[in-house]
Symmetry: C2
Subunit: 137 residues, 2 copies
Amino acid sequence: MVNKAEYDAFLARCPSRQLLDRIADKWVTLALAALRSDCAGEPRPMRYSELARTLAGVSQKMLTQTLRALERDGLVTRTVVPTVPVTVTYELTALGLSLHDTVRGLKAWAETHMDDVLTNRASYDTVRSGAGDPPRS
Amino acid sequence: MVNKAEYDAFLARCPSRQLLDRIADKWVTLALAALRSDCAGEPRPMRYSELARTLAGVSQKMLTQTLRALERDGLVTRTVVPTVPVTVTYELTALGLSLHDTVRGLKAWAETHMDDVLTNRASYDTVRSGAGDPPRS
DNA sequence: TGCGTTACGAACTTTAAGGTGCCTACTTCC
DNA sequence: GGAAGTAGGCACCTTAAAGTTCGTAACGCA
């Protein structure tokens, strides 16, 4: 693999790759969806603990890490409110909102085509393990 | 994390998540793009070795693994041609083509917005490490 | 008679991501 | 005075993914 380094550099700089690496993150799209308040009305700021409850199953570490990354990229804003015990709210930016809208294109594809994919997958698996042809001529 | 298992199960069954897991794979989108012959005209069947050359930097293992996954999902077809040393060609299916078109939506977003993201990222990093405010109030 | 080609399979090693648990500072409430 | 809640930081551990290496079968060729 002679040019692996160059190739990695190429991959690392490719905008599409960077985007994929960001949104493929396990919690990123869920956080976007939560902040978007997908299931109920308007986007609104949410508190850290509220997000933690909404994304059931996320660890504190991963939630913090995810939110930091999103803030760093300008996809959400982080606001510290100096209340009694300090509270922090997160809110989607315009950029984050537009990203989430784009991701919904993927969601649409998934919802209309993933059944086909799963069917293909199942039939592939049965043909492979069933008494079809001995592995491969 | 009481309901972690249930949550994982939920995630595992979510069509959007499954799709993301598939296309976020390092080589999947590149393979789709290659088979689509993105840079030059019409989609056409390609040989294994041709793909290996096009996706410079891919290991044989990962290429095989990627193509198998795509075949399993019905996104590409695999055709064995019994020539002297056996050759194998891969071609996008209609499903694979439609997926790639969807992914190009992401590409479009990335190309128009990733610069903003990178700018945000850079300024975030300088504010954090520079002599701005001591870490956080 | 080896050597090279094609398209892999299997085993082994390395590396990165994700998860868990323990810690903090501040204040208020019991 | 001690517990509880808020929003994390830090360090360790475990597992899953990616990469590397070696081997294979069939054949053509020098």
